[in-house]
């Protein structure tokens, strides 16, 4: 009886630990990104190319979503851009995953980041138009007419 109790407690602890392994905010982020990419590409399982993202982050995105990784930019339906410190010119729908990358990305359709513990998503109408992307009404709140510049005051 005591042994059974120990096994049960261990199981509860281990399963709990596994559940806690992936941060809730990461799951939240992946779900947002997946929905956005699908709504933009209109594909069920779009190919995504990751630029500047750590391997661990990429594997989490792929694990928690139905997105597929493109082997090169040409085969990609969408690009995620992060930690970019120089210009990025690829003419594909691209989403910056930080504000500094946004500054180097001329064709970025928007930015997704975290601010004060909350996800922040801003889409730019100007660039969406360039790729002839039409999003559902639910995205209206996030759309700015043109690119913003987040900088020092």
């Amino acid at each position: 009886m005591r042994r059974l109790l120990v096994i049960l407690l261990t199981l509860v602890y281990v399963l709990g630990a596994i559940g806690q392994e992936i941060d809730k905010s990461v799951i939240y982020e992946v779900k947002i990104l997946e929905k956005l990419v699908k709504d933009i590409t209109k594909k069920k399982r779009p190919y995504v190319y990751f630029v500047g993202l750590k391997r661990q982050k990429v594997s989490v995105i792929l694990k928690l979503s139905t997105l597929r990784q493109a082997v090169n930019i040409d085969k990609a339906d969408f690009i995620f851009l992060k930690n970019r410190k120089r210009k990025f010119y690829a003419y594909k729908p691209t989403l910056a995953l930080d504000f500094s990358s946004l500054r180097h990305c001329k064709y970025c359709i928007g930015v997704f980041s975290w601010k004060n513990g909350r996800p922040i998503l801003i889409l730019f109408q100007e660039n969406l138009n360039k790729f002839r992307i039409v999003l559902p009404k639910e995205y209206d709140y996030f759309i700015e007419s043109r690119m913003i510049n987040v900088g020092k005051r």
């Binding site: 941060d23 809730k24 905010s25 939240y28 504000f99 975290w114 601010k115 004060n116 513990g117 909350r118 996800p119 922040i120 998503l121 801003i122 709140y141 996030f142 700015e144 913003i148 987040v150 900088g151 020092k152 005051r153």
Partner: protein, 632 residues
């Protein structure tokens, strides 16, 4: 009644347990609500100081012009406010920022205390749960807070409106870390656990209490129930004797007539079945309110709950008559029964329950004395002063008030004593009751055997004390059928046995001659001398004379006392003496009352006599003191 009360208590306790359990479940279901309230309270207590300080900081520096415009256009005001608010940032308070609502009803950053970059006009995307809260803050102008359950980046967020000219211009958002929420949650969990554990322990002890109470009730119940009949026994009577409301009951004593004969004739197994049958009959015939107790062997006590309209006791009498009739109709393997009932209707006149029972018992005795198979009702005058009730006799026997007086059987020629006949007496108040006064009362009851055993023990002890003494003990034929009495006699030491004679009284008819003969032979072989008593009194028949190997035969007093006056009795005695001598038995003449009888007996050549002429029955102490006769 105690058992009934216990049952009520038990049901009450079960009810309490069920209610407690429901309350426990209800409390358990209330826990989330209570938890929320407790959470709110703790959050308010632990964060109110800092939130008030933030509010004061803002309001102290609130400009005359529009707050939003001032922050947008005045960098100095912006920096000062940012600096002032940055003081509040800590590990617990993670973020402080101010948002406003633009013309398109979109929330935008106005100031972020932590960020080095200017987030002015950057879109603020409220979390799912925040949308409604912000709307409410704008509407009510009151601050609110939210606990974030979906995210683990922030724990608790306060939304403090900045109101200027009665309009909410912006909202200060203060995010407490997830750690703070965890702290509060663990505190609440601790309180919750403590409450659950303590109520669980209370429930556990309540269950244990109920279990032991139940166990106790079951044990008590077992102790109160007669195993043979399944009705209450005398233990139960002891328990209720002080709590019974006598005015509510009539007392009925019922005794199965000649039950001892049934046991002797058909055996105890049949007797037991009959008792069971009678008990079932009583249970079926009476109500649940009535109390049926097996009072003695075949004696049943019934406390009959009075009917309100039965002021004269007619209904109780009808019940008794019905019971009597049912017993008459009852039959077990062809054995028909009758019963005697003593009914005490005037229970209100009794001092207590035991007194009421005693009176019913006296009445039962009267019913038995008047021929059995009848009902007698107790009347105050029915007990004569000198009469002793069965209940009184029972008490006296149980209190060991039985002793023996001794009368010598004397050698007529040399006046030596052959032996002393032990004559049982019961000490009652300041007198000694002779068997005539009580023997009929106890005959046929379990008391009779108890009485015989006491007499045997008394004499065995006496013989141990006086090694030269010889005694005879009177025993009825039914005593010889009682195995426990035979066992007592067969367990006596040989030195004692040799000095005891067993006198078979000729006072009753015997049904089981074979067992009687077998047991008498056993006793004879063990060393007891057998004496046939009351020869010529009427009961004795040739079976005794031929089959029972008696050493002595006592010629009954009713014959002896008539010798001087009636020639026929003279001749009868003469032939009886001759007959005894011819078959090798020693004749003993009873009732030697005077010298004239002694003269005739001497003339008839009888060797031994017993009677008042020699000595009245006296206590053993007097015999020892006087040593009138020399022991042979």
């Amino acid at each position: 009644m105690n058992i009934k009360n216990r049952r009520k208590n038990f049901i009450y306790l079960i009810f309490v347990l069920v209610v407690s359990f429901i309350v426990y479940i209800y409390m358990y279901s209330l826990i989330p609500v209570l938890e929320n309230k407790l959470e709110t309270k703790i959050i308010n207590i632990s964060t109110s100081d800092i939130i008030n300080s933030i509010r004061k900081t803002i309001y102290n520096k609130l400009p005359q012009e529009d707050f939003v415009e001032k922050l947008k256009k005045d960098p100095k005001y912006y920096s000062r406010l940012k600096n002032d608010l940055s003081v509040f940032l800590s590990e617990r308070l993670k973020y402080i920022f101010i948002i406003y609502k633009d013309r398109d009803n979109r929330y935008k950053y106005l100031l972020d205390v932590l960020s080095k970059e200017s987030l002015l006009n950057l879109l603020f995307i409220p979390l799912k749960e925040e949308k409604e809260i912000l709307e409410s803050v704008y509407k009510t102008k009151k601050h609110r807070f939210e606990i974030h359950k979906e995210l683990n980046t922030i724990g608790i967020t306060y939304y403090i409106p900045v109101v200027q000219n009665g309009v909410v211009k912006s909202v200060i958002i203060a995010d407490f870390s997830f750690g703070v929420l965890q702290e509060i949650k663990s505190l609440i969990t601790l309180i919750k656990r403590a409450v659950l554990v303590s109520s669980g322990i209370i429930l556990f002890f309540l269950i244990i209490t109920v279990y032991y109470f139940y166990k106790n009730v079951i044990l008590k119940q077992r102790a109160y129930i007669d195993t043979l009949t399944g009705i209450y026994n005398r233990n139960y009577l002891e328990d209720i004797r002080d709590v019974v409301d006598l005015n509510s009951y009539t007392v009925l004593m019922l005794d199965v007539d000649y039950f001892k004969n049934i046991n002797d004739t058909y055996g105890h197994q049949v007797g037991d079945q009959i008792l069971k049958g009678i008990a079932n009959l009583l249970k079926k015939s009476l109500r649940e309110d009535d109390i049926i107790i097996r009072y003695g062997g075949e004696e049943f006590l019934i406390l009959l709950r009075k009917r309100k309209d039965d002021t004269e006791g007619k209904w109780s009498l009808q019940v008794a008559q019905k019971l009597l009739q049912q017993i008459r109709e009852y039959e077990y393997k062809g054995i028909k029964l009758t019963a005697s009932i003593g009914l005490n209707l005037d229970t209100h006149k009794a001092r207590n329950l035991m007194d009421a029972i005693k009176k019913a018992d006296i009445t039962l005795y009267k019913a038995k004395k008047l021929g059995r198979n009848r009902i007698e009702i107790y009347e105050e005058s029915s007990k004569l002063s000198k009469e002793v009730s069965l209940a009184e006799i029972k008490d006296l026997i149980e209190q060991n008030q039985v002793i023996c007086f001794y009368q010598p059987v004397v050698n007529i020629k040399n006046r030596t004593v052959l032996y002393y006949e032990a004559l049982a007496r019961i000490k009652f108040k300041d007198e000694y009751l002779s068997p005539v006064q009580y023997i009929d009362l106890i005959k046929g009851t379990f008391l009779y055997f108890k009485f015989t055993k006491i007499v045997i023990d008394y004499n065995i002890n006496l013989l141990k004390k006086y090694p030269e003494l010889r005694v005879s003990i009177n025993m009825s034929p039914s005593d010889f059928l009682n195995q426990s009495i035979i066992d007592i006699l067969l367990s006596a030491e040989q030195s004692i046995v040799k000095r005891i004679k067993l006198e078979i009284l000729e006072t009753e008819d015997v049904h089981n001659y074979n067992v009687l003969k077998k047991n008498v032979i056993k006793l004879r072989n063990y060393g007891y001398d057998i004496v046939l008593d009351d020869f010529g009194a009427g009961y004795i028949d040739f079976y005794y004379l031929t089959e029972i190997d008696a050493k002595c035969i006592k010629i009954d007093g009713s014959v002896v006392k008539k010798i001087p006056y009636n020639n026929q009795y003279y001749k009868l005695t003469k032939y009886l003496i001759q007959f005894c001598k011819d078959i090798g038995k020693t004749p003993i003449a009873e009732f030697v009352e005077d010298e004239e009888i002694l003269k005739y007996l001497t003339e008839l050549g009888i060797e031994y006599g017993q009677g008042y002429y020699f000595s009245k029955p006296v206590p053993i102490e007097q015999i020892i003191e006087k040593t009138e006769f020399v022991l042979t």
